[in-house]
């Protein structure tokens, strides 16, 4: 086969310019951050940030945790560069944890640096630590030095499949925290009571990049159900009849939400219908004359769950309208979709506290398992 000299020359020049060469870094030369933690300075001084990263295990070492404190996130990386022999990469970053004090001060710098970096996925999870992020990461690293990150990352990623806790991606966090009149919600983590890792203690509410409040687990459940975030989990119930315990048990349900918005003069009314579908997990009848396969009793169970949850939700709505004064259940977009031009200016001055919110809970137990 004849190859003209000119074409061969061009090919040679092109091959020398294969631009991937500039970006070639051996994987051994990377420090691969899996979880990044952000705190205020350990000294308590204002205006700085402590950046902790939980990094992937190398061939000969375990996963490890390192912290650098500086004025900005970028400067912490510069300090790191003086110490560490390898290149720090965020390509495999899976979660960001924010310390309590920094969350109160504001997390704009953390958000900015991560959304600006093309190699960081906006789908990574964000959580707040009830304490310092550095201490939490050290704790999980101690528990399982070989695979400290995997359990932690999995906890944040999959928790909505088994508990009424939000999974908050970096993008969702940014979107909700900076949207007018709404708030972002992240899981709130703490070192587990049994000191064997990390547990979700509830949730943290953010607006304009600053944490405003904590919610406990029950309030978080109400928030998740009202906001329509897709979750599944167990809910216990107790039925009393004539002041006496008749039945107690639990159901496993998945949630769904429907919102209708209407208006009468200046009063805007939201009708939220929360639908929970699932199965009966357990129940122990005190009075054995009644069986669960009696449909009336199944209705009683459904009503008991719905009643309890509705009370929790009404409490949360009171908290939201009277104290937080922010839409934490993401209903404002429904009003905006109808009266955007008129409502947008009101969002800065207060909108959610003046609306009427009605809640209806519909529980549907679809089966009772293998027992009647």
């Amino acid at each position: 086969m004849k190859v003209p000299i000119a074409q061969a020359a061009v090919l040679l020049v092109l091959s020398s310019l294969l631009c991937g060469c500039w970006d070639t870094v051996d994987i051994e030369e990377f420090d691969i951050a899996l979880v990044a933690g952000y705190d205020t300075l350990p000294t308590g001084d204002q205006g700085g940030i402590a950046v902790t990263s939980l990094e992937a295990a190398g061939e000969d070492n375990d996963e490890w945790v390192g912290t650098y404190s500086a004025k900005t996130v970028g400067e912490s990386r510069a300090l790191r560069a003086y110490n560490e022999p390898r290149q720090y990469t965020l390509t495999q970053l899976q979660a960001i944890v924010i310390g309590h004090d920094l969350a109160l001060q504001g997390v704009e710098s953390v958000i900015n640096t991560h959304m600006r970096e093309p190699r960081v996925k906006p789908s990574i999870n964000v959580a707040v630590v009830d304490g310092r992020a550095e201490e939490l990461l050290q704790e999980i690293s101690k528990k399982d030095p070989k695979q400290a990150s995997s359990g932690f990352i999995s906890l944040l990623q999959t928790i909505p499949q088994r508990a009424f806790v939000p999974r908050t991606s970096l993008y969702q966090f940014i979107h909700d925290t900076f949207a007018l009149g709404t708030a972002a919600v992240t899981p709130l983590l703490q070192v587990a009571d049994n000191q064997l890792g990390v547990e979700v203690a509830g949730s943290a509410i953010f607006a304009k990049g600053r944490m405003l409040a904590h919610l406990d687990r029950t309030e978080t459940r109400a928030l998740v159900l009202l906001s329509g975030r897709k979750t599944e989990g167990w809910i216990p119930y107790i039925i009393y009849k004539d002041g006496e315990l008749q039945d107690k048990g639990s159901v496993f349900v998945a949630n769904q939400r429907k919102v209708k918005v209407s208006r009468s003069g200046d009063v805007i009314t939201f009708d939220i219908k929360v639908i929970l579908r699932g199965r009966l997990v357990e129940h122990s009848l005190i009075d054995h004359t009644s069986a669960v396969y009696n449909e009336d009793h199944l209705r009683e169970i459904e009503q008991a769950v719905a009643r309890d949850l509705r009370l929790e939700m009404m409490d949360l709505i009171d908290l939201m309208q009277e104290q937080l004064k922010l839409d934490v259940i993401n209903i404002t977009p429904y009003a905006l979709a109808k009266w955007r031009r008129e409502i947008t200016p009101q969002l800065e001055q207060g909108f959610i506290e003046d609306v009427v919110i009605n809640v209806e809970v519909d529980v549907i137990i679809q089966n009772t398992g293998e027992l009647g």
Binding site: D23, S123, S169, Y171
Partner: protein, 277 residues
Amino acid sequence: MLVLIFVIYIVLFQGIVIRLFADITCVFMLPTTPIWAVSLVSTFSVVFAVCKGGKVIGRINEFFFYLLVVDLLIIFVPVNQGTYLNLLPLGEIDLNGLIKGSLKTAYAYAGAEILFITYAMVQQRREILKAALIGQGITVSIYLLVVVVCLMVFGTGLKFITWPLLTVLKLPYVYALGRLEIIFLLLWVGLGLRPAMNLGMAACYTAVRNFNLDFNRWYKWVVLGMGTVLYVLSLQADNLLQVFTWADYAGYAFLAVSLGYPLLYLLAALLRGEKSK
């Protein structure tokens, strides 16, 4: 003179296309590779394809058209991250903003003016209007789809994002693959340079014909010359914001050329008392 202006416009436009391609490649794929290297390799590809002539360019377009279907499919994946509520109420759309936005996005539709050149090459001219309308319709539909998905997902936050399509593809958590945008970026290497190839062929063909040069002898030299010019042009911007400003101007120029150029010819024909065919 008009033809020369048209050629200059195309070469300038190509320079912007190559620079944008190089910038996106550097930001998302090759962050430590210098712009000049990516631009050079891109220019080589454009020059090579244009040298091969209209048939090869046509086949490249045909091939990439089918790859676009893949892009179309993946854009649906992030839809569940957004809400239709961000699109409502339709009745409150700000017409002034819509017109300003349309002017800004005119750049994205540039390239249709290649029909001024390719029209002369088409043998079955009865079909050209239908084909052009279908082509433009597909382009409009794809852009509309991208805009609707991005609006559903980002809402008013869209204005803060430099490359919404790439960012929106990064949002879903994708099991196994990890990053959805990688599919788009794989195709990007081909799709991003395609407009420069089409326009490059149009510019070189026009230049050769306009100066009555021997096609077989001069076409490749003209292509090489054009390649050199557009490579130099692609390196002129200091930063991405400057490139975006130039792209805005290119969009206005596109409107002027695509509407003004045929109108001028029509006017000239009317003045000369001839009916345009």
